[in-house]
Symmetry: C2
Subunit: 114 residues, 2 copies
């Protein structure tokens, strides 16, 4: 962890991916904006993208909700660094819990980009 | 096909699983009643269970909607045989389109039964 970050800060509750119900995972992934967040994160180093840097077609409050849903579903780890909330895609943990599921979401991007 | 069945009858539109968008698949699977239909079907021979034989906690109209959503998402093949609409889980086709996804849904049953 870089200096100045607080991993799992007081206000950030992280789900244990091993305990996430399939219902929560499917609910989280059934939203196209949330899938776009995951795909964008997949292309960047861990904890380099803050929530505010995503160009999402929703209000700030709705964007915050989307990040919270992804965190609850075991898909994101977040750390607060000063005013910025940095994100990491929990790729390995989620894959261990739901084999193949995140890969489908990330592959959807490549299809759309082609 | 057994005598008396009409595969892909006039009123039954079947999706090409290869062309189903991930959004449609996730929407179909994000409903617990629809997942329960798939799990029940997975344990039975093809085209032996009619829609009316599922004990679902919803109205008849809602149940019909659920079957239609599953068919549209490439998860079910249905044939009408007299008054009965028989179902087949399109396991191989759906697996080819979305590797691992249906397996997660069917594994959810085994966890719940254990």
């Amino acid at each position: 962890m870089a200096e100045g970050t607080t991993r799992r800060g007081r206000s950030l509750v992280h789900a244990d991916p091993a305990a996430v119900p399939l219902q929560d995972a499917l609910d989280a992934l059934a939203d196209p904006v949330r899938r776009s967040i995951l795909r964008e994160l997949a292309g960047e180093p861990d904890f380099t993208r803050s929530c505010g840097t995503f160009d999402l077609p929703v209000s700030k409050a709705t964007a915050s909700h989307h990040f919270a849903v992804l965190r609850s579903a075991g898909l994101l780890e977040q750390v607060d660094k000063g005013p910025r909330r940095l994100n990491r895609l929990r790729r390995a943990e989620f894959e261990a819990r739901f084999p193949g599921l995140l890969a489908l979401v990330l592959a959807e991007e490549r299809a759309g980009d082609a």
